[in-house]
């Protein structure tokens, strides 16, 4: 690991200002993703700004009947919150399907959204990877590469990595909004739909965040009710990243929302697909996958996603 310096900060705007002013600085929250990547020298910040003292660890109601989740709320605490369990059960289910107890005790809301891909070639610093080293190529798309875990839709010639978060998929189905503060002190609200960027020619640019911009909270709109489920398909039954996951909110009249994980560089949802929900899984998936660009090895994910949604819909009608 490269040497770095470390500081604790006391207020959010100050944290953002420090991050903009110190060269090559990064925030650290739970550290469960960043420290791992630093040990492998995939991330090499010279300075860490510890945001744990910022007091952004509360979950509180918003004026419009929704919930504001401070960025430092741990995944364990968020999953266990009574309001979340009652009003946003898809979120509790997604959180509990992710990582392990020890990791969820550390992992934070903002850190979870910003965790980086699990593409094996991103992790292997001897391999070409446009995301890790722009312009070096994409080893995952070389002939015979191991791509069965990687993305099928929203991907590009430059990169086919997926975003690995479970939490973000549920939040996308719930129309979450990310709140931030900039180094100059202004705040802004970014719909989660626009927060993660597709790779295009620049897979190293992953989010709409500006240099130094700090996530302060994620807000959820007022509860929408309905039957909510999170179905995660993985190679073993616990403690593994999703091959495919489906966050489903289904209303008694058949309308609702579907977001997919494990298939794209961001939680994958669109309004046209949601409208097709009453017609069933096949129609929804045809819309969600219409621009799919799978590899030979990961083509199975398209069928798997359709079947996973079909089974979730069956249960919801149950």
């Amino acid at each position: 690991m490269r040497a770095f310096s470390y500081e604790k900060v006391k207020n959010p705007a100050g944290a953002a200002a420090r991050a903009a002013e110190v060269a090559n600085a990064k925030f650290v929250a739970g550290g469960t993703n960043l420290l791992d990547l630093m040990k492998l020298e995939i991330e090499t910040p010279l300075h860490l700004i510890d945001v744990n003292g910022l007091g952004l660890d509360r979950i509180e109601g918003t004026d419009d009947g929704g919930l504001r989740i401070g960025t430092l709320v741990r995944n364990t605490a968020l999953a266990a919150d009574e309001r979340v369990k009652r009003d946003y059960p898809v979120l509790t289910r997604a959180l509990m399907a992710g990582a392990s107890g020890q990791l969820r005790n550390k992992a934070t809301t903002g850190g979870n959204l910003l965790q980086r891909t699990r593409c094996p070639y991103f992790y292997d610093t001897a391999m070409a990877c446009n995301k890790r080293k722009p312009g070096s190529g994409c080893a995952a798309q070389a002939p015979g590469a191991f791509s069965r875990q990687l993305g099928v839709v929203g991907v590009s010639e430059a990169c086919i990595a997926t975003h690995p978060s479970d939490m973000a998929v549920a939040m996308r189905a719930l129309d979450a909004v990310v709140e931030t503060v900039m180094p100059e002190g202004e705040t802004r609200a970014i719909p989660l739909a626009d927060f993660h960027l597709l790779p295009g020619h620049t897979p190293e640019v992953e989010t709409a965040l500006k240099p130094g911009e700090l996530i302060t909270a994620v807000t959820l709109p007022a509860p929408v009710g309905g039957h909510q489920s999170y179905t995660k398909v993985r190679d073993r039954s616990s403690y593994a990243f999703a091959l495919v996951s489906v966050a489903l909110i289904r209303q008694p009249d058949g309308s609702g929302a579907v977001a997919l994980g494990g298939v794209a560089p961001k939680p994958w949802r669109n309004a046209a697909a949601d409208k097709l929900l009453p017609e069933g899984a096949k129609a929804v998936m045809a819309e969600l996958m219409k621009d799919a660009r799978p590899t030979e090895q990961n083509r199975y994910k398209i069928k798997l996603a359709e079947r996973t949604l079909a089974s979730a819909l069956n249960e919801a009608k149950g």
Binding site: M1, A3, F4, S5, Y6, V28, G30, G31, T32, L35, D36, K39, L40, L48, D50, N52, T76, A99, S100, G101, Q102, L103, N105, K106, S238, Y239
Partner: protein, 161 residues
């Protein structure tokens, strides 16, 4: 060279003060700095759970914890489980039930189990499985570990398992 930082915390009930390099992780600090060799280094990347310690009673992976973040906090490791010559009921049940073979995962398993029993003295089998879901064991096949944790829970409640 960046200067070392002073750090103090409670380790198994004793005040501990030492100097750490910037960026040191808690696992190294416990093993090399404090001389507590009970937490183990398995993967160093959050996958195996062998380095599990309790921070203020909650299980955490010490390999992914920056030492500087535990200033003033309470750390518990397997090194503090036994009371003198008397093993903790979890250790006793692990020993009797052959819940350790090579033993590499054991310290992490014990701490994950201790956190569970502190929170839920009468866990169900599924709750035990969930609690050790982040701890990998390549030897036992897990069943003896789950049995040992349930046995220890029963004994600590004065029930027979």
């Amino acid at each position: 060279m960046m200067p070392k930082t002073p750090l103090s915390f409670t380790l198994n009930g004793s005040e501990t003060a030492l100097f750490v390099d910037p960026g040191a992780n808690l696992l190294d600090t416990l093993r090399r700095g404090a001389g507590d060799l009970t937490p183990k280094l398995g993967c160093a990347q959050g996958t195996c759970g062998a380095c599990t310690v309790l921070i203020d009673g909650e299980p955490h992976l010490s390999c992914l914890t920056l030492a500087e973040t535990v200033e003033g906090r309470d750390i518990a490791t397997t090194g503090g489980l036994a009371d003198g010559p008397d093993l903790h009921p979890l250790q006793q049940a692990f020993m009797e039930g052959f819940a350790a073979q090579c033993g590499f995962c054991t310290a992490g398993m014990l701490m994950a189990a201790k956190a569970l029993l502190d929170r839920r003295p009468n866990p169900s089998r599924d709750e035990v499985i969930e609690a050790i879901g982040g701890n990998l064991c390549r030897c036992t096949g897990y069943e003896p570990i789950v049995d040992a944790i349930l046995t220890a829970a029963a004994r600590m409640q004065g029930r027979s398992a």
